[in-house]
């Protein structure tokens, strides 16, 4: 039996269109053997959670550079909980000030990756933290 691939939804919430980081990480995760679904730009938390549900995602990765993370993350986490998707590993990458990291972690965002993070570090983090699948 072949092992099920880790399924990752990469999303860009908010109005910002700078998608270099989202696309580079999507490709790196795919090259690392994961199944990657890139939602494209300007996704609402509702759309992202719908994608996670539909794609049976193990991981949801958000790319946020605009400073809107404090508005987006609480809504997204609440919606995931509503859909009983609390065991999905949520990661945020982008321009996140140090002071905001504990607040995001308290919401249940497991990994916050600031500029300059190596792709390999994110790949390793996913392998270590992704839920075990039956």
């Amino acid at each position: 039996m072949t092992e099920r691939k880790v399924r990752v939804v990469i999303a860009k919430p908010g109005l910002d269109g700078h998608d270099r980081g989202a696309k580079v990480i999507a490709r790196a995760l795919r090259d690392a053997g994961m199944e990657v679904i890139y939602t494209g730009l300007r996704q609402t938390p509702e759309q992202i959670v719908a994608a996670a549900l539909q794609e049976d995602a193990d991981v949801v990765g958000l790319s946020i550079l605009s400073g809107a993370h404090n508005h987006i993350a609480p809504r997204l986490m609440a919606l995931l909980a509503e859909q009983k998707l609390d065991d999905v590993l949520v990661l945020i990458g982008g321009i996140i000030p140090d002071a905001d990291v504990p607040r995001l972690q308290a919401l249940g965002v497991k990994g916050v990756f600031q500029p300059g993070t190596p792709m390999q570090e994110i790949i390793d983090f996913i392998h270590q933290h992704v839920r075990a699948r039956v």
Partner: protein, 554 residues
């Protein structure tokens, strides 16, 4: 082989280089620029063609302007030191502008927030958490008046970085000028208005490409007649480079975008010399010093030749490529942010040597947040040191005739022409964008660069080498969350206090005219006078034209 039959270069290779390499091998098997271009060990006269030598012999100010568009370079007028700024409410940004002007800045440059850039008012659900964050919130003529309060528009030049709703924002600017008693003919500055690079790189588009191009040609025609000193467009490579393009791709896609605009202007019934003199360009100053200098030189030569030979432009102002430069935001690191001061200074140096007409230098803290007033001032001071202490501004094109730089210039130009041919074969840039071609080329380059960094083929100081976990982090600018509330309250008051019927009628006329070939600028100016918002004007056009949906390629 008898040494007598060897050329001097072969003798050098045989007698000096080979023994040297045996004794001390080189640091790498290949040496490449930040764009992945392989660089030779030593450039000599053998690397130039006869054409290169002839071209380098043409002085500055003469066609095709390889060495510069002005015969005397910066000896007459220094480049404009134009620092991009905007955040919070219009009042917040107005105060920053006054500080920059007091510190010796010579032009203004407006950064708008994401809701404004995307044509959404502060109360739209998609604007939640974004009002005033990445730039200033400008929803209506009232906000535009607050932004320039106490700044006479005939005394400054203003650059406005806005694209999809550029025409609407410009309409508001014109009405503010009118209220200040300034005639449109006296206004000078630059509207970015470059929608093609939004589809290619920055992704702040609203409408589909074809109606968006019509908005651009409407501004060309309107300004040619009514606002003749304003640059109607800033064809931008900056964002293309930030998205991951190489230097050659930045050059090629930007200039090919420029060609596309000229073609659409001609197809709309204008002659090139009516509007091309008011087109300007905007490049990135990335970290590879010599390749960047070559890029600016190649851009000037290419544009001049294409305008004369492809479009038959006769006015030499149509041939002269004028450009703004900004140092590479993407090169800034969150780690050891003080290092960014040095990176920015070196990048600015290449832009000045390359003959930029205006320049923005990034602040050290921009990988972390918007700059503080102190870091923004230091960035401006960097330019002032270059201008007044380095001797750089006292002569023209110091690397003209350099074997290395001339050879790089020719290579970059050839690569750009190759891309032009491929894009022409696809039916032009709009068609190439619709096919996802430039987007894919850039995504590939971005990924290759990231892999090179991770493999440590490329050292980034403080990130993948010379790491220091204890390096201090600076205090950063936090945007007051209250600006969103302020702007929402203003929107409510605006809607309650304006003449609703007149405003609705102006918006209705705009919506109807969008389906006809009539120039939309006068209708937007009317709507701005009736205090219609950016969001409402964009909605009128969304009704008429629909919205662009991207096919994402990763």
């Amino acid at each position: 082989m008898a040494t007598g039959s060897l050329t001097p270069r072969q003798r050098w290779q045989h007698e000096l280089l080979e023994p040297t390499l045996k004794k001390a091998p080189e640091r790498a098997a290949r040496f490449t620029t930040v764009s992945g271009r392989e660089i030779a060990r030593l450039y000599t006269d053998d690397d130039l063609t006869r054409d290169d030598r002839e071209a380098a012999g043409v002085p500055a100010g003469e066609f095709p302007y390889l060495r510069g568009i002005h015969a005397s370079g910066y000896r007459g007028k220094l480049w404009t030191m134009r620092q991009f700024a905007g955040f919070g409410t219009p009042e917040d940004t107005n105060a920053r502008y006054k500080a920059l002007l007091a510190a010796g800045g010579t032009g203004l440059s407006v950064a708008f927030d994401l809701p404004t850039l995307m044509g959404r008012d502060a109360d739209h659900p998609l604007a939640a958490g974004e009002v005033g964050k990445c730039g200033v919130s400008v929803m209506s003529i009232d906000d535009m008046a607050r932004l320039f309060d106490g700044i006479p528009l005939d005394r400054v030049t203003t650059s406005m970085t806005i694209n999809a709703p550029a025409a609407m924002i410009f309409a508001m600017y014109l009405v503010v000028a009118e209220r200040q008693g300034v005639e449109w003919g006296q206004l000078s500055g630059t509207l970015q208005n470059d929608i093609l690079k939004e589809y290619i790189a920055q992704k702040e588009y609203i409408f589909p490409p074809r109606p968006s191009m019509r908005l651009v040609t409407d501004t060309f025609a309107f300004c040619a007649a009514q606002v003749p000193r304003f640059n109607t467009i800033s064809v931008s490579g900056y964002h293309i480079r930030e998205a991951g393009a190489t230097a050659a791709q930045e050059l090629a896609f930007t200039l090919r975008d420029g060609i596309e605009y000229v073609q659409w202007g001609v197809d709309a019934g204008l002659t090139p010399d009516q509007f091309v003199p008011r087109m300007s360009f905007f490049f990135n100053a990335h970290s590879d010093f010599f390749e960047e200098i070559a890029k600016y030189r190649a851009a000037r030569r290419l544009w001049a030749e294409v305008m004369r030979d492809r479009f038959g432009a006769r006015d030499e102002r149509s041939w002269k490529l004028r450009f703004h430069t900004q140092t590479a935001g993407v090169s800034l690191t969150a780690q050891q942010p003080d290092n960014n001061i040095v990176r920015t200074a070196l990048q600015a140096l290449s832009a000045v040597i390359g003959g930029t007409n205006s320049l923005h230098t990034n602040a050290l803290d921009e990988a972390l947040a918007l700059p503080t007033e102190a870091s923004a001032t230091l960035a401006l001071r960097t330019q002032q040191v270059l201008a007044h202490e380095s001797g750089l501004a006292d002569h023209v094109d110091p690397f003209g005739g350099s074997w290395f730089v001339e050879s790089l210039t020719t290579q970059l130009e050839a690569e750009a022409r190759d891309y032009f041919a491929r894009i022409d074969a696809m039916g032009g840039m709009v068609a190439a964008i619709e096919a996802g071609f430039p987007q894919r080329e850039i995504a590939d380059s971005a990924y290759q660069f990231q892999r090179a960094v991770e493999a440590r083929e490329r050292v980034i100081v403080g990130v993948n080498d010379y790491v220091d976990a204890n390096a201090p982090t600076p205090d950063i600018l936090y945007i007051d969350e209250a600006s969103g509330d302020t702007q929402m309250a203003r929107l409510e008051r605006l809607r309650a206090s304006r003449d609703r019927a007149r405003c609705a009628a102006a918006l209705g006329r705009l919506r109807e005219a969008a389906l006809t070939p009539q120039n939309l600028m006068p209708l937007m100016i009317d709507a701005a006078r009736e205090r219609a918002t950016v969001g409402e004007m964009c909605d009128a056009l969304r009704d008429a034209w629909g919205e662009h949906q991207e096919q994402s390629v990763i």
